[in-house]
């Protein structure tokens, strides 16, 4: 929670600071921080001071910097020194149990999936009376050192949406059956498990040092017969759960920034719009108000007030770059949420200015929202009578590249859609449907019947 707050405070404070700050690239900051060899918080405060002293209109740069500092700091602070990586060719000590991991490919239908092949060799000693054994493999991410080990979570690999884990730590358990002797020696490397790489969720994307702990246990799991561990460096292609959490927090911050940008698009920041954004921030950034400290709430309120002041002075954001970052870090669902908030902000004062509609269209496009889905959302939240100026093409989704025939069919589809809504029990929908049917008929006159 505190991380979310810090991110937002940085963003919003930096938003204001950035008005007068210079353009600093992500790599520039990284390089600077690297040279300064500062700890994260110090680095941030230095950067804030730096930003305050330099002129810039580039708020997005600052937003990005805030995010990059987080990543960067963790890397320089936790310069991982993992235990020596395994050497696949070193001769194992046969007096104990040894394990190693290799990357293999598994076929699942037509797709090939990376998998960790866990192999063991050496000695397993079991008590005379307990021979039934179980294999257990757990994985830890020790990229940042053993003392900073992060859990590797289990993920449902089949059919689960990207990034969905079940939250529990990954642990592979398999029955080995009865050991043939009290002391069993595996002379050769024997593969005991093939673990699909999409069955785990790591903390971060990129090069991860993983510690595989392999245990041979009694069948009831109460007694450990043998244990071995090894490390394996894996290049994780997917965002980790910490990445996702950070992205989520960052997306919320960007959402607030974009919502303010939409609110200010017509040159006026209405109280109702500001109140709506603030409420959203309180509900989403401070996820649980009851558990949020007064200090955190205070920080948020201060940051929001500063941001309001920023926009009230007529300053603008570079929404293009904000959107680029959102597209980079946020899944589709979050992008729809951003657009939904922006539409509701536009709706708040009961009228839609041309500039507001323009920025909404631009955001939708930059957030890679399907134009038809955007139109559907807009129709629902911003009914016709709210528009200060009605653009028939926009409202009906007619584009310049449509032929006469395509326009005709498109208008027919729109007519079918609204005609079925015209008897809605909801009077607002009924009114909107009536209005839409009228403009569809007008559009037909304009585009199709004109040549009669």
């Amino acid at each position: 929670m505190s991380e979310v707050l810090i991110s937002l405070s940085i963003l919003l404070a930096a938003s204001v600071a950035a008005i007068s700050s210079g353009l600093i690239s992500r790599s520039g900051i990284a390089e600077l921080a690297s040279r300064l060899k500062l700890k994260g918080s110090t680095c941030l405060s230095v950067l804030a001071r730096l930003a305050n002293g330099v002129k810039s209109k580039d708020l997005v740069g600052q937003l990005k910097q805030a995010g990059s500092i987080g990543d960067f700091t963790s890397r320089i602070l936790c310069d991982a020194k993992p235990e020596a990586a395994q050497n696949l060719y070193a001769p194992p000590d046969m007096s104990i149990l040894n394990c190693r991991v290799r990357m293999i490919e598994l076929k699942d239908g037509n797709t090939v999936i990376d998998a960790f092949a866990v192999e063991i060799c050496g000695l397993i000693h079991a008590p005379e009376d307990i021979r039934r054994a179980t294999l257990r493999i757990s994985i830890l991410d020790i990229t940042d050192g053993s003392s900073e080990a992060k859990a590797v979570r289990a993920r449902n690999p089949q059919g689960a949406p990207s990034g969905e884990s079940n939250g529990s730590e990954f642990c592979y358990v398999a029955k080995l059956g009865r050991l043939p002797r009290q002391t069993t020696t595996l002379d050769d490397w024997t593969c005991v498990a093939r673990l699909r790489s999409d069955g785990q969720e790591f903390c971060r994307r990129g090069r991860r040092t993983l510690r595989f702990d392999t245990s041979i246990l009694s069948a009831d799991g109460g007694l450990e017969f043998a244990h071995a561990w090894c490390t394996f460096v894996y290049d994780n292609p997917l965002p980790g759960y910490v990445d996702l959490q950070e992205n989520d927090e960052r997306t919320k911050v960007l959402t607030v920034a974009l919502a303010f940008a939409v609110s200010a698009a017509d040159g006026k920041l209405y109280d109702c719009e500001v109140a709506l954004i603030k409420d959203w921030a309180r509900d989403n950034v401070l996820e649980s108000r009851a558990q949020t400290s007064d200090q955190a709430r205070g920080k948020l309120e201060k940051a929001l007030s500063t941001t309001v002041a920023f926009f009230s002075e007529g300053n603008k954001l570079d929404t293009r770059r904000l959107c680029e970052e959102v597209v980079e870090i946020a899944p589709a669902g979050h992008r729809y949420e951003i657009l939904d908030l922006c539409l509701r902000v536009t709706q708040a004062n009961g009228s839609v200015a041309v500039e507001e509609m323009a920025i909404l269209k631009d955001l939708a496009s930059r957030l890679e929202i399907d134009p038809e889905k955007f139109r559907t959302m807009a129709e629902k939240i911003l009914p016709l009578d709210m528009h200060e100026v009605m653009d028939i093409n926009d409202l009906l989704g007619i584009t310049s590249d449509m032929s006469k025939e395509k326009t005709r069919k498109h208008l027919n589809r729109e007519y079918s859609k609204w005609n079925s809504r015209v008897t809605s029990a909801n009077p607002e929908i009924q009114t909107q449907a009536d209005q839409m049917l009228k403009i569809i008929a007008e559009a037909r006159g304009q585009y199709i019947s004109a040549g009669r």
């Binding site: 949406p161 990207s162 969905e164 899944p331 589709a332 669902g333 729809y336 559907t376 629902k380 005709r408 069919k409 208008l411 027919n412 007519y415 079918s416 859609k417 005609n419 079925s420 809504r421 015209v422 008897t423 809605s424 029990a425 909801n426 009077p427 929908i429 009536d434 049917l437 009228k438 569809i440 008929a441 007008e442 037909r444 006159g445 199709i448 019947s449 009669r452």
Partner: protein
Amino acid sequence: MASIVGIDLGTTFSALAILNAIGKPEIIPNADGERLTPSAIFFDEENSDIVRVGIEAINSRHLNAERSVRWIKRHMGDASYHKNVDSKDWDPVELSSLILKKLKQDCSVDNNEIHDAVISVPAHFDEARRKATMDAGTMAGLNVIGIVNEPVAAALYYATTREVSGKVLVYDLGGGTFDVTMLDVKGHKVDIVCSQGDHALGGIDFDRKVLELLEKSYRDKFGAELIGSDEDRAKYEDEAEDIKRTLSRRNVAKIMLYGPAGNMRVEITREMLEQAISDLMNRADILVEVALEEAGVEPSAIDEVLLVGGSTRIPLVRQHLEKMFGFAPETAVNVDECVGLGAALHAGLTMLREKPEAVPPGISNGLRDINLTDVCNHSYGTVCAPLDKETGRRVIANRIILNKNTPLPCEASQTFYTLTEGQSELEVTVTQGEDADVEYIKKIATHKFELPSDRPAGCPIKVTYGYDVNQRMHCKFEDVQSSKVLEVDLSLDRDGSVSQSDTTEESQERLSAVGRSKVE
């Protein structure tokens, strides 16, 4: 023996037809000797129990618009609409029942008792509006044995009186509504393919355009408003209707406008009318195209276009159709009467199916060869929570189970699954409409379905919807594992919600208000 009756309860005019001894439908004139009765109501100023329906109501409207009602069909099914007269709120069902009561009363004089009737409705009417129409009939003392779509009724009449065959398009542009219906006709065998309708397109919309022209002319000349009262509006609405009719026969219509700033003579040309109604005609053209697309038929594949409704007399309507199809539409029958006549045929067919013993042999023989296959007028579905592929999130959506235009009788099933572990209850909703977005569809019934608890998520629930030839719908929700079944009663209130019965004090009061009224 009681007569078999079909009633065209129209927006501007209504008509009643009975089947004669050999099963041929005949329009029965009202007490004034007119074959059509204006669907207008006037509550008498002297005696509040006297209600005038028909031409007298139209005339009285110019004197006291406050006590008159027209075009009530546009409000059918609208729970928020009321006409307050003498401290009594009259709703659309009650008002419609007064019109039906007048038809029943007038036509019973020279005929047998009128009891069993079929009433026609626009094809696009939803369940709530259909039920409201049936309730109006019941309130008027009729036994409503069925509801028939207006274009279907018209097509039945055409098919049984004219040489019609092949792919037929019925173009029904009435006083207040517009329907397009596609049929396959072979002799007396009529198969409905699909219907499309526009609830806000009809003669009164054309009249309003004419009225706008009159108001504009007056404003342009005097800089003042022509209409200053409800009575003025009522008068000029009727003048506008006359002008529209004149312009169907002549190129120019002339009228004197008597307004507060002075009087003026105005000429409205056919060209001016056609210009004024061009957007309405665009709507009509779109609806035809949508119906053709829905049926998967090109205009060139249509063999005949049948006209129904008084507004089809407008020359521009016929020109548009001729341009679209390449031939002139069929105009041989009376476009004002064919719905009522077809409704009587439909009543005969319904009686033959439901109570054959009550149908005289002559009528039975007359209807023997007629074979009608109707379709489901709307799509019916249920509310569920599928995964959105793009966002990976569950969304609340309407899933269609029974598709629009499925031939009747029909039945369709789909299986859904419980969402959570230990789910002990389901909210089952019957929806009407094509939209996937639940905000845009009608929820016509919602029930709680209790399930066995302590089960994992993903237990199958089979949903089966059936629609019979009498346009009654049956819904069944079945928990497959336990075989527990919930059958939904689809008796509708006027606002579209579900009720088990209609014996409330309120309904008794409505019944007695209509019963008390002396219709003249």
